[in-house]
Symmetry: C2
Subunit: 457 residues, 2 copies
């Protein structure tokens, strides 16, 4: 049997893991610097926890687990009925009652609902775990991939919104990726809809604006016409989309455009407060700009306030982060009135950006520090002992397992990126010395074995 | 809807994650010190990769994924036939072709088989990931849990066997758990079987010996009688099980007992070589003893050479580690003659042992270092700015999100184990000072805000 991997899944070898860890550890460190606590939820959730939360399309992409014991003859009739329901596209507890995590937000909402009394509110949690989606695999899209979220639940304070933008700044500064952090407010989009035909047009307008990047303004206008917006309404949307200038100039223009709409003024006021907080600490920290972008819409999701999106500069790549504020995290699970705000990092895309820009730290592929060569039984027993002294001093070492040709041992060191070789032959055993070879510089020296630890410290 | 978790799964809150990370990071650091490289494989494997690898009982415990699109009317007939096969306890590609990782060994073997040409051999990998088993949940047994393995593939060198015992020593020394590391050889058990009725009795003898701890010598003897061993043969096994003394004494006694059996002498020779390596570095490192234990059998699995098992001293708990050498890692996947040796850590049990012995580091639940109190809009804007200075210096901070009663803010700090509060009221704003309160000592002092970073460094 020739083994293979399921479509859309990946093995991660050591060199990839080291790069991914660099990204994940950076994000984790910044989350913790801002007072976020880790949470981990199981990969398995009850199917009913997930169903109906991601729209009809999402429901179809959930991986469901087959119940065990379906060959139980005592239950044959029930199970057969269950299979018939599955054939009709329905779910059936007798066949499947568990599913794989599809995102980190619904498990977070479930967790908050189940543990509300015990949690310290406002609850600031981060979560970095795999999710699974039965999407058609394609370049950059996998069926098993990591998500990386931070959310604050239980406060309307805009301090948390401002902090999340700063987290984006700090993470990408540490990763050395120049980014454009875009910010807008769903309240402003709601106000625009009110001006242009009423709030029932909000979803059509949002969806159309969301496509601006991909299809251009003319196609967006066509789509709006199809949605029965008048020429005059579309011209308001066009002038909205054309608002430019500095953040302050944009705020002045949008205030005029949405002059009489209360929701809009509220959204503008919130944007101002958030940008004030950010400006307070500007210059202290970053070159990454935080820019109002009224064309930002964030598709069809549950956001109700501020929204974010992050793009890398100087490279063609979709967004590498996104998020926003939502009114009601846990209502679906019976706990009303918990607002929240959160952001997400696209780890796979960040990895691709950093690979393409070649900005991973140079020593990222450092593995073992020292390879002791194996020159025979007696010599390797001495090497084994010296190796353990180094390990006790925190220096990672290996002893080549067999008394192979030197050639082969050098090749092993080279393939594993091991920078130092230590050679203990019969002469060295006798004289209590060893040869330390710097494999990168191709230099070597003989030193007393007793000096080995201090050599590497 | 009141949400719940699937049976046998767990959410991990921050305090549990910090403890688990302490264990996992310790193990990871030691693995890397010994030159092992990380590997991560997907949770989803092709069902055919897993089936038939874990015995009939194991097969039943594999979680299978329902294919998507089972409501496709064009495929109705095929799918219906598929369901009929499932009812008969067979697998059917039309219904399920993927499954959840059941252990880390088979994915490792699959990975080595698929990537053999590219790997640096001998390949030393470690892997720390979740696995899933549809076992009946009970105390300490979960359906989703972590495994933590290190294996060396592609060498018969006993240096690797010796190193794995040293890894056990070093990990448990770092975790401050006193352990008994037991060692035996399957070759010795094979020789015992040869002496007592031939090699076809090996599995019966191994299974019976494996139960000695739980059922006692008399029941073991009964089981051997049921397996048609003669009184004389059973008396040999009994004297085998009673071998005591130091490692050296045990080796002398077993040499006599298995005098004429070649496999046995080979096993004894290997044990001696491994213990020699270990003795070379003894005293350098550890109080944890590595002891020959001829009653160690490791149940019905694929080991063929050295076997290990680790138990914590001074506490009632099953084994917290185990492993051994096997002849053929990848034969099942078409790549013959790759020997291997590996060990595994039982993370959940190690967690329980450390909790019961109360030996986690005292500061393990340290979260944010500083909470800035919120005393109003103007004050909190100043606090926000100072907080960012601290964060830029690597000190984790939070600003309480609302201008709530001090009482509530103190309570938040206490519930989150935050050791310091910084209070900036209108006086402090004016005088450019702040009050730093050590919440553990209940002491406070007023310092210039400009000195804050150096205060915490």
């Amino acid at each position: 049997m020739k083994p293979s991997l399921p479509q859309g899944t990946r093995d991660f070898s050591a060199d990839i893991i080291r790069r991914r860890r660099f990204i994940l550890d950076t994000i984790k460190d910044v989350f913790e610097l801002y007072g976020f606590e880790p949470l981990e939820t199981p990969a398995l959730e009850n199917l009913e926890t997930l169903m109906g939360k991601y729209g009809d399309e999402g429901d179809k992409l959930i991986f469901k687990i087959l119940n065990n014991g379906l060959d139980n003859p005592l239950k044959k009739e029930e199970i057969q009925k269950g299979f018939n329901k599955i054939l009709e596209g329905k779910n059936e507890k007798n066949i499947t009652e568990r599913a794989l995590r599809y995102d980190l937000t619904i498990p977070f909402a479930r967790y908050v609902s189940m543990n509300y009394g015990k949690l310290t509110m406002p609850y600031k949690r981060y979560q970095m775990q795999s999710v699974w989606r039965a999407d058609r695999p394609q370049k950059g899209r996998y069926r098993e991939f990591y998500q990386c979220d931070a959310d604050v639940a239980g406060t309307n304070s805009l301090i948390s919104d401002a902090e999340l933008a700063l987290i984006y700044q700090q993470v990408f500064r540490r990763l050395k990726i120049d980014v454009d952090i875009k910010i807008n407010s769903r309240k402003i989009l709601a106000a625009l809809a009110e001006v242009c035909g009423g709030s029932d047009k909000m979803s059509a307008i949002t969806v159309a604006i969301d496509k601006l990047d991909k299809i251009g303004i003319e196609k967006v206008k066509e789509e709006l016409i199809e949605n029965n917006l008048s020429v005059q309404q579309i011209s308001v949307i066009e002038s909205y989309l054309q608002i430019g200038g500095s953040n302050d100039e944009k705020l002045t223009k949008i205030t005029t455009l949405l002059n009489n709409v209360e929701t809009g003024q509220k959204g503008i006021e919130e944007l101002k407060i958030i940008l004030n907080y950010i400006n307070e600490v500007a210059g202290q920290s970053s070159t990454s700009s935080i820019n109002i972008d009224f064309t930002l819409a964030r598709g069809l999701n549950y956001y109700t306030g501020i929204i974010y999106e992050v793009k890398a500069k100087n490279i063609e790549m979709g967004s590498i982060g996104g998020g926003g504020r939502y009114d009601d995290l846990t209502g679906l699970f019976g706990l009303p009135n918990i607002p929240g705000v959160g952001i997400s990092f696209g780890v796979d895309r960040i990895y691709d950006v950093m690979t393409e820009l070649n900005i991973f730290p140079e020593d990222i592929n450092k593995s073992t520090t020292v390879l002791f060569f194996n020159l025979g039984e007696k010599e390797s027993t001495v090497a084994f002992k010296e190796m353990q002294v180094l390990r006790n001093n925190g220096i990672s070492c290996e002893l080549f397992y067999e008394n192979a040709k030197l050639d082969k041992q050098f090749k092993y060191a080279s393939k594993k990126n091991i920078p130092f070789a230590i050679i203990i032959g019969s002469n060295e055993v006798e004289q209590k010395t060893c040869i330390v070879r710097d494999l990168l510089k191709a230099e070597q020296q003989t030193i007393p074995v007793d000096n080995l630890s201090s050599y590497f410290r």
